[in-house]
Amino acid sequence: MVVYATRRLLFLVPVVLGVLTLVFLIRALVPGDPIDILFFGQMRPDKATVDAMRREYGLDVSLPVQYIRFLGSVVRGDLGKSVRTRRPVRAEIQARYKNTLLLAFGSLAVAVVVGLSMGILAAVKRDTPVDTVTMILAMWGLSMPAFWFGLIMISVFSVRLRWLPVMGSESLKHLILPALTLGLIASTVLARITRSSMLDVLSAQYIRTARAKGLQYGVIILRHALKNALIPVVTILGLQMGGLLGGAFIIEIVFSWHGVGEMAVQAIQQRDFPVVQGVVVVVAVTYVLINLAVDLTYSALDPRIVYE
């Protein structure tokens, strides 16, 4: 197990390398010089000033050289300096990363609690109105643009009812609406998977055996069925996390939830490449680690799954 985990962690290296190379390729292709953008729409400083700025950011050397230098600094843990604020990228990301994680895990918590309950309920009460309603809600969630939903949530809960704040990421109270927005939508996917997985398991031989033995239904569900039903659910959870990390930027922008996604979008628009690179590295590493965690959870859930 440990060997497996170590081997997977080693895979981090080529993945990160690949990601960084891709980002650098993009820099080469995409038009837009960060120094130009800083002075767009204003008086342009004289050449000496611009040259000095280029030197400061290492933009005065050729792209391949920049690439090598960057790889070297990443190994040392230095992600460069933001072109816009001149602060270390690590500091900029550190300030916001925990917010993005909070949002991702918060939404995940909502999704798990709501989704699993809905799924189990629908499976247990199969083919009754409860089942149909649950599945209709699930359909709604899959089809609802998160962005629109977020606006409606703000409209109802913040502006009209004034129960919750509109924006910001200061307190846990600020987390409620954005987490609900993403979480409720994600819960629907989970609900469907849980339901079908539970149905499979419930009709399996060993469950019928347990019922024949006279075990209480509730015990059956919780102890036997659920553990096995969770396997596909865990898969989807892993993928959801990736989606939540990457795709939550729209929600971050709408709710002014100051996370890494909001910063990344601004950085892209301003061609603040050091920041973009830093965010990409951090997100990629997180994603790989989460997948590793998911795989390890599998073997905990199902002893039949063994990794060499």
Partner: protein
């Protein structure tokens, strides 16, 4: 977006502890009848049909010219003259939404088409040949999946030029890894089947085996994934519009309409709600239809 359904596959992870590969069968020719007996397929299919009709007949059924600017008619709420109200330049919203049907449909077709055209062959080659090629392809897929798609989309759009067509290409290319992985999984499953071994024993070339035997068996999952990936493509296009990289004015693409109206939600909510409803119904239709399709063709694909 967080729709994990799109572009996902089970990464070769076990979904059920014991599933017999041979239970997967080729799609029966007669799958259409049982398909349309299901209610979701009827509803979904009906909406899709409606959308296609709208797209085809857009110039004829629109009450107004969707591009006509009449500054004195700005921001009118829904009324008898303008069923869905007017936007901030006085253009009739109903006409714009009808014309937007064309764009919405083509988004799905083009991006999913590109993703399939590139992803399926990669998956087939990778799964069939196995070995080092397969390993390399899987690592590449891991890298691509770890890469935030908006960055990829930006790169492609900024290089080619910011317009809707390039946005669709960008979305298509970002979906390739998901497709490759799914197809590869299927190919791996089918590779060991008897009829494949038989064909090769009979001397069929690799290419023929791949295209005549392996590929058709991945068809069902491919079709299902296509219908289910469509919504993700539509949402991704809207997200790109959000950042200014999608449809350019005065295109009535629904995502652009929705995003462009976001500041008006309190003063002119009809500008946000109707495009939102249109997107919602479209996505819903494809999800319903895709689910029904999947249930008919191959219930073991429930993990999609």
């Amino acid at each position: 977006m967080s729709d994990a359904v799109a572009g996902s596959s089970t990464r070769g992870r076990p979904i059920k502890a014991a599933v017999s590969i041979d239970e997967r069968v080729r799609p029966r020719r007669s799958f259409l009848k049982p398909l349309f007996r299901k209610r979701p397929a009827q509803i979904g299919g009906g909406i899709i049909l409606l959308l296609v009709l709208c797209a085809i007949s857009a110039p004829f059924i629109s009450p107004y010219d969707p591009y006509r600017i009449i500054t004195s008619d700005r921001l009118k709420p829904p009324s008898a003259q303008h069923w869905l109200g007017t936007d901030d330049l006085g253009r009739d919203q109903l006409s714009r939404i009808i014309h937007g049907t064309r764009t919405t449909l083509s988004i799905g077709i083009i991006s999913v088409g590109i993703a399939m055209a590139i992803g399926v062959p990669i998956g087939v080659f990778s799964g069939y040949y196995g070995g080092r090629v397969d390993l390399l392809v899987m690592r590449w897929i891991d890298i691509m999946l770890a890469f935030p798609y908006i960055l990829l989309a930006l790169a492609i759009v900024a290089t080619l030029g910011p317009n809707l067509r390039n946005a669709m290409i960008a979305i298509g290319i970002s979906s390739v890894p998901g497709w490759a992985r799914l197809v590869r999984g299927n190919v791996l499953a089918v590779k060991g089947n008897d009829y494949v071994t038989a064909a090769r024993a009979l001397g069929a070339s690799d290419g023929r085996v791949m295209f005549a035997h392996v590929l058709p068996n991945t068809l069902s999952s491919a079709v299902v994934l296509a219908t289910l990936q469509y919504p993700a493509a539509v949402l991704a296009a809207a997200a790109l519009s959000f950042v200014g990289l999608g449809a350019q004015p005065p295109s009535p693409e629904w995502g652009a309409l929705l995003v462009g109206a976001r500041d008006w939600i309190w003063t002119a909510s009809w500008l946000v709600n109707y495009p939102g409803v249109a997107i919602f119904l479209t996505i819903l239709a494809f999800n319903l239809f895709g689910n029904a399709l999947r249930d008919t063709l191959d219930p073991t694909l429930r993990d999609l």
